[in-house]
C-alpha cells in the first residue's frame, strides 16, 4: 500500500512525540510523566512504521509500551510519591543544567546546518513486505554474537534487579 499524506502524519506523530517528551520532564506527578512517555513512545512507533521498519515498531510497542513502562508504573505505585510531589521538583543546579542542554542544542543546530548537504535525497524503495524476514536473517546471522551478549546482559540485569529489590534473598 502506497503511503498516504506522509508529511501530515510525520508532523502529527513527531508533534505528539515531542509534546509527550515535554510533558515527561515537566509533570509533577510521575504517573502523569509515565503516561506522557507512553504516548510519546507510541507516536515514535508510528514514525518507525513510516520509516518502513514495522518489526522495530512492533518491538517498540510490545517491549517499551507494554513491558518497560508497566515496570515503571509498578515501581511508581510501590514507592510513595505523595511526599516527593509536595517538594521542589527541580534541583538547585537546574539553571546550569538547562544552559548545558541548550548549548548541546546549539551544537546540534550548528551540525545540521553545516552538514545539510551530506545526506543527498534518493528515491527509496518501499520495503515493508519482507522487512521482518530480513531483520531476522541479519539478527541470527551477522549479529549472532551481539544477540547472545544482549541475552546475557538481560540475564545479569534480572539477577541484579532481584538482588537489589528483594529484602531477604
Amino acid at each position: 500500500m502506497a503511503p498516504v499524506a506522509t508529511p501530515f502524519f510525520f508532523y502529527l506523530l513527531s508533534g505528539i512525540m515531542l509534546i509527550g517528551g515535554i510533558l515527561v520532564i515537566t509533570r509533577k506527578n510521575p504517573v502523569h510523566s509515565a503516561l506522557a512517555l507512553i504516548i510519546s513512545l507510541l507516536a515514535q512507533a508510528g514514525l518507525y512504521l513510516m520509516l518502513y521498519a514495522p518489526f522495530v515498531a512492533g518491538v517498540q510497542i510490545i517491549l517499551y509500551a507494554g513491558g518497560i513502562m508497566v515496570l515503571f508504573l509498578f515501581v511508581i505505585m510501590l514507592v510513595s510519591i505523595d511526599r516527593s510531589m509536595r517538594e521542589r521538583q527541580f534541583n538547585s543546579q537546574w539553571i546550569v543544567g538547562l544552559i548545558a542542554a541548550l548549548a548541546l542544542g546549539g551544537l546540534f543546530i550548528a551540525v545540521y546546518l553545516k552538514g545539510n548537504g551530506l545526506l543527498p535525497e534518493r528515491a527509496l524503495p518501499a520495503l515493508e513486505a519482507d522487512n521482518t524476514q530480513r531483520v531476522a536473517t541479519m539478527l541470527y546471522g551477522q549479529y549472532m554474537f551481539a544477540f547472545e551478549i544482549a541475552s546475557l546482559l538481560l540475564l545479569v540485569a534480572i539477577i541484579g534487579a532481584v538482588v537489589m529489590a528483594k529484602k531477604k534473598i
Binding site: 500500500m1 502506497a2 498516504v4 506527578n29 504517573v31 502523569h32 503516561l35 507512553i38 514495522p54 518489526f55 515498531a57 512492533g58 518491538v59 510497542i61 510490545i62 509500551a65 507494554g66 513491558g67 513502562m69 508497566v70 508504573l73 509498578f74 505505585m77 515493508e128 513486505a129 519482507d130 522487512n131 521482518t132 524476514q133
Partner: protein, 425 residues
C-alpha cells in the same frame, strides 16, 4: 450510479484485503462492519454467558426481558448508560476518565489484523501477530491507570495483580506463538511469516492445522496458548484481578455506569481477540474442515451450505420454543417476539443460501464457529473452576508454562530443521 456498482463489483472480485489494496472506502466499510459485528457479538456473548452459566447451575437465568431473556443485554446496556457516572473525589480525574477508553481502544484495535477470510480482514500486516500481541498488551496500561487513579486500595491491588499476571503470561504466550511462526517456515523458500493471513495460508499449503503439526508439539503449544489466553483476559479461573470475594471488583471497583460498561466491553472484545489468535494460529482460521482432503465440487457445495443450515437449525429451535410457550395472554407478546426472531433467523439462512453470498461468507462463518467454541470454553471454565491464588498463578506461568513453551520451541526447531534438510535433498 453505474460506476458505484462497478466499484463494488470490482472489489468483490478482487482477492486482496482492502488495506492491502489501499482502498480507503472499503477499509472504512470493513472497520464499521467489524466493530459493529464485534459489538453484536459482545451483546450476544453477554446473553449466552448468563444463559449457559445459569443452566450449568440448575437455574434459568434471565427470563423476564423478552422471550427467554433475549432482550436482557439491551436492558442492561440501557441501565448502565442511564446510571450516574461517579468519579471519586480523591481520584485523579483525567486518568480515571481516560483509562476505560484505553482499554477499549486496545481491545478493538487488535481486530484490525484479524483475518475473517482470505480477503475479509481490514488489512494484512507483515507483523500481524506481533501487532496483535503488542496492542493487546497495551490494555495492561489502561488497567493500571484505572487501578491507580481510583485512589483506593482494592483497585490498586487488583491493578497490580492483573498487570503482573498479564505481563507474565505474555511470555508463555509469546513462546507458543513463536512455535507456530516457526512452523510456517516449512516451505520451499524456508522463510516463515508473522502475517495472520500468511499463517492460515501456510496451514492450507501444508495440509494440516498447526494443532496437529508435529504431533504432539503443536498440541502442546496450543495448550500453552489456551491456558495463557484465559489468564491474559483475566477470566476464571485466573480472574484474580476482579476476584469479587477478595477485592470486591478489582481494578474497576470505583467505576460505575458507562465507564464500567466500557471495561465490560473491553473484556469481552479481548476474549474474542485472543480466541481469534488461537483459531488463526492453530485451528486453520477461516478454513473449512478438510479443505484439501474433501476438495471436489460436491464437498465444496455441501460445506458452503452449512452456514445456512445452522441458521435454519437455530430458527427451528426458536419455532419449537414458540410452540412450547404457555398459552396465556400474558405471554402473547413474548411468543410473537420469539416467532419473529425465528423468522429473522430464517431470513438470514435464506440469504446465506444465495450462491454468491454463500461462497463469500462461509469463511466468516467457519471462523466465527471456531471462535464461539472458545467462547463456550470460557463460560464452562467459569462454571467449573475455583479461583487460583496469586502465587499459584505466577508459579504456573513461570514454572510450568514457560519451560514447557521453551521446550516445545526447541523441539519444534529441531524437528523442523530435520524436515527442512530432508526437503532440500
Amino acid at each position: 450510479m453505474n460506476s458505484v456498482v462497478q466499484y463494488i463489483e470490482g472489489y468483490l472480485s478482487s482477492n486482496q484485503t482492502p488495506g492491502a489494496a489501499g482502498n480507503l472506502f472499503w477499509v472504512f466499510v470493513y472497520i464499521m462492519l467489524v466493530f459493529g459485528g464485534l459489538s453484536v457479538a459482545v451483546i450476544a456473548m453477554n446473553w449466552l454467558e448468563r444463559k449457559i452459566l445459569a443452566h450449568m447451575q440448575v437455574r434459568l437465568g434471565p427470563m423476564r426481558v423478552g422471550p427467554h431473556g433475549l432482550l436482557q443485554p439491551i436492558a442492561d446496556a440501557l441501565k448502565l448508560l442511564l446510571k450516574e457516572d461517579i468519579i471519586p473525589a480523591e481520584a485523579d480525574s483525567v486518568i480515571f476518565w481516560s483509562a476505560p477508553f484505553i482499554v477499549v481502544l486496545a481491545a478493538f484495535t487488535t481486530f484490525v489484523v484479524v483475518p475473517f477470510g482470505p480477503t475479509h480482514a481490514i488489512t494484512d500486516m507483515n507483523i500481524g501477530i506481533l501487532f496483535m500481541l503488542g496492542v493487546s498488551s497495551l490494555s495492561v496500561l489502561g488497567i493500571v491507570m484505572a487501578g491507580w487513579a481510583s485512589n483506593s486500595h482494592y483497585p490498586l491491588i487488583g491493578a497490580l495483580r492483573s498487570s503482573a499476571q498479564m505481563v507474565s503470561y505474555e511470555v508463555a504466550m509469546g513462546m507458543a506463538v513463536v512455535t507456530v511462526v516457526l512452523m510456517t517456515s516449512l516451505n520451499a523458500s524456508g522463510t516463515g511469516t508473522l502475517s495472520m493471513i500468511g499463517i492460515v495460508q501456510a496451514q492450507l499449503a501444508q495440509g494440516e492445522w498447526f494443532i496437529f503439526k508435529f504431533f504432539p508439539l503443536g498440541l502442546i503449544a496450543f495448550f500453552i496458548f489456551a491456558v495463557a489466553m484465559v489468564a491474559e483476559t483475566n477470566r476464571a479461573p485466573f480472574d484474580l484481578a476482579e476476584a469479587e470475594s477478595e477485592l470486591t471488583a478489582g481494578f474497576h471497583t470505583e467505576y460505575s455506569g458507562f465507564r464500567w460498561s466500557l471495561f465490560f466491553l473491553a473484556e469481552y472484545s479481548a476474549m474474542i481477540a485472543v480466541s481469534s489468535i488461537a483459531v488463526t494460529l492453530w485451528l486453520g482460521g477461516w478454513l473449512r474442515p478438510f479443505p484439501n482432503w474433501l476438495s471436489n465440487p460436491t464437498w465444496d457445495l455441501v460445506f458452503s451450505l452449512v452456514p445456512g443450515a445452522t441458521f435454519l437449525f437455530l430458527a427451528g429451535m426458536c419455532f419449537y420454543s414458540t410452540a412450547r410457550m404457555p398459552k396465556h395472554p400474558y405471554f402473547r407478546i413474548q411468543t410473537i417476539g420469539l416467532g419473529g426472531f425465528g423468522a429473522v433467523l430464517v431470513l438470514i439462512a435464506l440469504i446465506l443460501f444465495v450462491p454468491g453470498v454463500r461462497t463469500r461468507v462461509q469463511d466468516v462463518f467457519w471462523f466465527a464457529a471456531k471462535v464461539s467454541a472458545f467462547m463456550y470454553l470460557y463460560i464452562w471454565y467459569r462454571g467449573t473452576f475455583p479461583r487460583y491464588r496469586f502465587d499459584q498463578l505466577m508459579k504456573m506461568g513461570w514454572k510450568v508454562l514457560l519451560p514447557m513453551g521453551l521446550g516445545v520451541l526447541i523441539l519444534t526447531a529441531g524437528v523442523a530443521l530435520v524436515q527442512q534438510n530432508l526437503w532440500h535433498q
